[in-house]
Symmetry: C2
Subunit: 247 residues, 2 copies
């Protein structure tokens, strides 16, 4: 299998970056600055759930028009803020909160792991995030992507087939030449059904105390993190990390 | 003007990479390997002209269906090879020649210049090349792009407005927040008419003995190369180049 793979696609939120921990940390900054108190862990969980479980399905069902993920996040946030007693924030403050998704922190293995993997394969984001969000995040976190396949390129959200097959077509590769690497069974299942190779990445801290997804099995590879994935794909260790320009 | 610019877009063929010199060098390799003789400079010029002056206008006029630039190059090559007496090449050899566009050599200032510019701005390709071509080229030439805006994302070719405005929309920026950097007046004129900022990059060796385009004037900046552009945009010099993984 891995001998035919010519490019790696990565789910981003949860697989490469710690969205939950980063949001909580960012929101705690709001506490420190404005004296606003909140149950930030619950808000982060509810925000993700509102966006992914309430709004994205409506977009995919065409009961809402296409919106990029930044606007999905904003709709969800506007819905949730009053429920969490966060009233009276300025427009700039709400926009600042929404931009936290552009500044997520990578898991510690992500940058060195991607850097190793990139020696052997193009490494590309395949994310429900929009291109501008992924670009800001890459510059903030120094993620060495070869290409950003944001959902706005396809105006569809994963797990829609158009996203996976659209990225393969833009790479000029057959699905079996492309491996999706993700911490989520549903994402991998959709890719597998389309013929892509699959690698499950364990992220046991993705959801904080609630843990992370456990592999449902049946994937081409399973890895404990991106360094382990690089080991399994036979890529040499590196002599220390290379410098990347940030923002 | 430059205080409002938030991202830089670069034309690639001619502005960042030396397409003509690289094609000629690659074709000379064919001479050495197979004893095939040819007027490689004339072939390179004719190839570019056939693709850009004969085929792309037909695609834009919808008298040909959409084809990515790789296929445009191949159509043009198939047309030209017999005219240049290059008959009897195998399919693999013709495919190899067509792939020379994926392996073009950057102008000497391009990688260090883009690396400096990237400290202050996202630097993105905005090219008639398809994404897979641009990705291979970036890995080959170690071009530190933040994003590849290939024409296949828009299924239109420059100077169509959809290409420039599509990239601005994906960057979530207004046209006046984006600067196109190019060695070609026509490309810059199209961008300027849409409200983008513009920088003319001098490439006096682009067309070999025929020179390069001379600025028509009226651009926001004119630079002798990408290091000069970085100087004019006030970016600090760098202590030597950073390492980038290649292929």
């Amino acid at each position: 299998m891995t001998t035919t793979v010519r490019a790696l696609l990565f789910d981003v939120f949860g697989t490469v970056v710690d969205w939950r921990g980063s949001l909580v940390e960012g929101l705690q900054g709001l506490s420190a600055k404005h004296g606003v108190q909140g149950d930030w862990e619950r808000l982060a969980d509810a925000w993700r759930a509102e966006a992914y479980e309430a709004i994205l399905p409506q977009i995919e069902a065409r009961s809402l028009p296409w919106l990029p993920l930044d606007e999905v996040h904003r709709l969800a946030l506007d819905e949730l803020l009053p429920r969490y007693g966060l009233v009276g924030l300025t427009t700039a403050e709400v926009a600042w909160i929404n931009r936290l998704w552009h500044q997520l922190t990578p898991w510690p293995d992500a940058v060195p792991g991607l850097t190793r993997l990139r020696q052997g394969y193009p490494v590309c984001a395949l994310s429900n995030g929009n291109v501008s969000l992924l670009l800001d995040m890459a510059r903030h976190a120094r993620l060495p992507w070869d290409m950003l396949f944001g959902a706005d390129l396809f105006q569809r959200y994963k797990p829609a087939a158009e996203v996976y097959l659209g990225a393969c077509a833009l790479l000029d590769l057959e699905p079996e030449q492309v491996m999706l690497c993700a911490a989520h069974n549903g994402d991998l299942q959709a890719a597998k059904e389309l013929g892509l190779a699959t690698a499950f990445i364990q992220r046991p801290r993705e959801k904080g105390p609630a843990g992370g997804e456990v592999s449902a099995g049946g994937w081409d590879l399973e890895a404990s993190d991106l360094q382990d994935l690089a080991d399994q794909l036979g890529l040499p260790a590196m002599e220390g990390e290379r410098a990347e320009p940030g923002d």
